[in-house]
């Protein structure tokens, strides 16, 4: 499964990505998780779910209209506390919904 996190520069989100990868590994889930800046979203193919950093939540509508996979904004607190497990749950929930 390919999970993509989108924020403005892809910097702060990359901290979260590390935690999510660890969480996925401990759960034995085969997932590729990456963080990219919004400007590079167009180059991405083969994505299963897109999560947006809360600081660029205004991109939600734009991204939703340009892709046909589930898109959601990451919860403020989960993002701030860098809760890799919660965000991974959110991603899995969206894919399985």
């Amino acid at each position: 499964m390919n999970i993509l996190l989108v924020c403005s520069a892809g910097m702060s989100t990359s901290i979260l990505v590390e935690k999510m990868r660890k969480e996925a590994a401990t759960r034995g889930i085969d997932a590729s998780i990456d963080a990219i800046p919004e400007s590079r979203l167009k180059e991405q193919t083969n994505v299963d779910v897109i999560l947006i950093g809360p600081q660029v939540r205004y991109l939600e509508g734009k991204i939703k209209s340009s892709v046909d996979v589930p898109v959601a904004v990451i919860d403020n607190m989960a993002y701030g506390m860098m809760k890799g497990d919660l965000v991974l749950d959110q991603a899995l929930g969206l894919v399985n919904a």
Binding site: S39, Q55, Y58, L59, M81, M82
Partner: protein, 439 residues
């Protein structure tokens, strides 16, 4: 409030503003390298007690006065000195890509149109004065107009049709042909009109009418305060402030630091360069640890809740510190949280506004050298203060003074916030215990 977020969001995702912002982001590595080349060429001697480290002097002794600086000079010429040229291409490229059309073709067309408008010198050279920051606004306007024209012409299908069986690559190479022909002819016609009728280059007109007045206002304390205020009110609502207003800040402020750099390169001391307010000024002296001077907020938290290691504030601060050293502060902004937290609203805006005023006074009265270098915004405080002031300890001292003031200002609000949180935790604990008793 939802209205505010909606409007801010619309600005933050407006296609042309995004293209401008991303255009600047794409050329930033080159700009920083050019700026560092100038800094190294003019690095001041460092005196620690009786020990004197004079890099420039020893290089001059080794290779002959001024010879070695040709290296940095060349880098400058091909980076910051051609900022307008680079921006013309990268905005055209980014805008076209946002429409899903050929970015490379639009970038090249924007670049060609820009060159066409640059005044030619008597010996058939391009005038460097207009290739750089002074031509920035022309670059932005030209690249947007050219790319929009390109998109219109491509969409009208005014392109050469190829018979079936012709390879796709060949078709594509011809697709941009007619639009390019039309656009270049239009721009050349405009240039002819400017030369013969107006008898001025469009660069001079735009520079005097738009760029110069904007820059004059940009270098004032009110402008710096407006930026500090807007940026933080946006972040308070959880929106990426610097990102949203970046498309406006970069074109106004890059030329200011460019002129500081150029003066510094020509031998002016960092105290006497023309402009006080620049992007490095805000990055180094106000946004320490990120927007809201959150580095000071973390210090305040460590001071206030030092005895309660399990307090949520302590945990957030511990989690946020490594990233905050590099001015990345989303963890503390969303985790504490600062977003929509009425207790934190006051210091989060008041601290940067205060620091902007202090720093402005310190630089404009000559207590601290002005900014003469661009460093990546992720450069840690203390190092950044030293580098942006052209290697001055006074820059570091101002950062330390600012951090101390900011920490002191944050402390009462952190105490109030921490207390409220402790009370809430105790209340929750009490209700769960009660619930357990009942069950």
């Amino acid at each position: 409030m939802n209205k505010f977020i909606e409007i801010a969001g619309r600005i933050g995702s407006q296609r042309h503003l995004v293209a401008i912002r991303d255009g600047f982001v794409s050329v930033m590595p080159l700009i920083i390298v050019g700026s560092l080349a100038v800094l190294i060429n003019n690095f001041p001697a460092v005196n620690i007690g009786s020990l004197s480290l004079d890099f420039v002097g020893s290089m001059n002794n080794m290779f002959g006065e001024g010879n070695w600086q040709g290296l940095g000079g060349s880098i400058w010429n091909a980076s910051f000195a051609i900022l307008g040229l680079l921006i013309a291409f990268s905005i055209g490229y980014n805008l076209a890509r946002s429409y899903g059309i050929d970015g490379l073709a639009a970038g090249i067309l924007s670049l060609a149109s820009y060159i066409m408008l640059v005044p030619v010198t008597a010996d058939w050279g391009l005038n460097f004065a207009w290739l750089g920051a002074q031509g920035l606004f022309v670059a932005i306007i030209v690249s947007i107009l050219v790319t929009e024209m390109f998109r219109y012409l491509i969409n009208t299908k005014l392109t050469i049709k190829m018979p079936e069986g012709v390879p796709g690559g060949v078709t594509r190479s011809f697709q941009a042909l007619i639009p390019s022909m039309i656009i270049l002819t239009v721009v050349a016609g405009f240039q002819l009109f400017m030369t013969l009728v107006v008898e001025l280059s469009v660069f001079e007109v735009i520079f005097k009418a738009i760029q110069q007045p904007l820059q004059g206002f940009g270098d004032s304390l009110p402008a710096a305060l407006v930026i500090a205020f807007l940026n933080h009110i946006l972040w308070f609502f959880g929106l990426h402030g610097t990102n949203i207003i970046g498309a406006v800040i970069e074109p106004v402020y890059l030329p200011l630091i460019e002129q500081n750099l150029a003066a510094f390169q020509a031998g002016t001391s960092a105290f006497d360069v023309p402009y006080t307010v620049t992007k490095p000024f805000l990055d180094a002296f106000v946004f320490m640890g990120g927007s809201g001077t959150t580095f000071a907020l973390l210090l305040a938290i460590f001071i206030v809740v030092r005895k309660q290691r399990n307090h949520p504030y302590h945990q957030v601060a511990k989690l946020s510190t490594p990233a905050s050293l590099f001015n990345i502060n989303e963890p503390v902004i969303f985790g504490l949280p600062i977003v929509l937290n009425p207790i934190m609203l006051v210091p989060f805006i008041l601290v940067p506004v205060t620091l902007t005023i202090i720093s402005y006074v310190a630089l404009s009265t000559g207590m601290v050298p002005k900014t003469v270098a661009i460093v990546p915004w992720t450069t840690p405080p203390i190092i950044s203060g030293y580098l942006v002031t052209g290697g001055s300890v006074r820059g570091v001292l101002l950062q330390i003074v600012n951090l101390s003031i900011a920490t002191a200002m944050y402390i009462p609000f952190v105490m109030a916030g921490a207390k409220a949180m402790t009370a809430e935790i105790n209340k929750n604990k009490a209700t769960t215990e009660e619930g357990e008793k009942i069950s």
